[in-house]
Symmetry: C2
Amino acid sequence: MVDVAQVFADLVRYETRLYNVLGERLRAEHGLTTAQFEFLRIIGGRDNCRVNDLAHEVAITVGATSKAVDRLEAAGWVSRRPNPENRRSSLIVLTDEGRRLMDAATPTFENELRIWLADPLTGRSLEQLAGTVAVLRRTVEAARVGMPTG
Amino acid sequence: MVDVAQVFADLVRYETRLYNVLGERLRAEHGLTTAQFEFLRIIGGRDNCRVNDLAHEVAITVGATSKAVDRLEAAGWVSRRPNPENRRSSLIVLTDEGRRLMDAATPTFENELRIWLADPLTGRSLEQLAGTVAVLRRTVEAARVGMPTG
DNA sequence: TATTGTTATACTCTATAACTATA
DNA sequence: TATAGTTATAGAGTATAACAATA
């Protein structure tokens, strides 16, 4: 029988170190943390990105997300544009500098993922892992579980 | 071809929500955060547990670990005992209250893992996932990568 | 000298809740 | 009234670096 607590422990310990090693490379080569890179990637990958969209994607509160966007804006990587469809909200977009940074950092990110995620596995194991985590993510998101109340 | 960045995103988003939902249940029923539960579980699962051992296990600095142990000690769940083998360090052990808390919280923890980790998958997928994350964890740990410098 | 751990300081990040503006 | 976002406050958690004690 599979020990689910062991799987959880392995998942968390692996992901912590993966997150850290990605951060070391991104910081050394581009002055970015992994979390910042993820925000920029989400923003750059959407046509319409509001604070609310980001908050739901990364499962933190709206207030915390607003402050994170403040920091990205202060760094010059994103800007808030008026949302023509709803004047209560802004659309968050990458600046030219933010786009250039993403273009430069993405190969660093993906190369490091290849080393620590793809290379240790057979092609078949990686495909199975990809399918399994997609199922698990969809399950928790469909159940709207694990979201902060704010 | 598998998109490693997509796998990473799915992994992180899933794990965040899983961590949160575990925390909601542990807090409601036992007044614990997931991180506290993990510390107690690691401490209870070892014969000799020093601050250094904990720091390596969870991949945070020794200083941060020492403060985390302070908080667990203040809550009455662990105590520092003199280490007979090395007077520079202490052995961290569960108190009776900490042991009772773990005994009560473990079924909550494992039940929630069953719901969000085991139930959505076939037995075969879960077994493959268990094997794959064990390999990935061993790989990053053997490479001594993703550890803070402190 | 090297190792083990603690502590002081500063900073990031987050939650909570009160608030403003718009729908 | 409800929704979208901002901001004030407080607290947890972490890194860094200086420190003490022991090996």
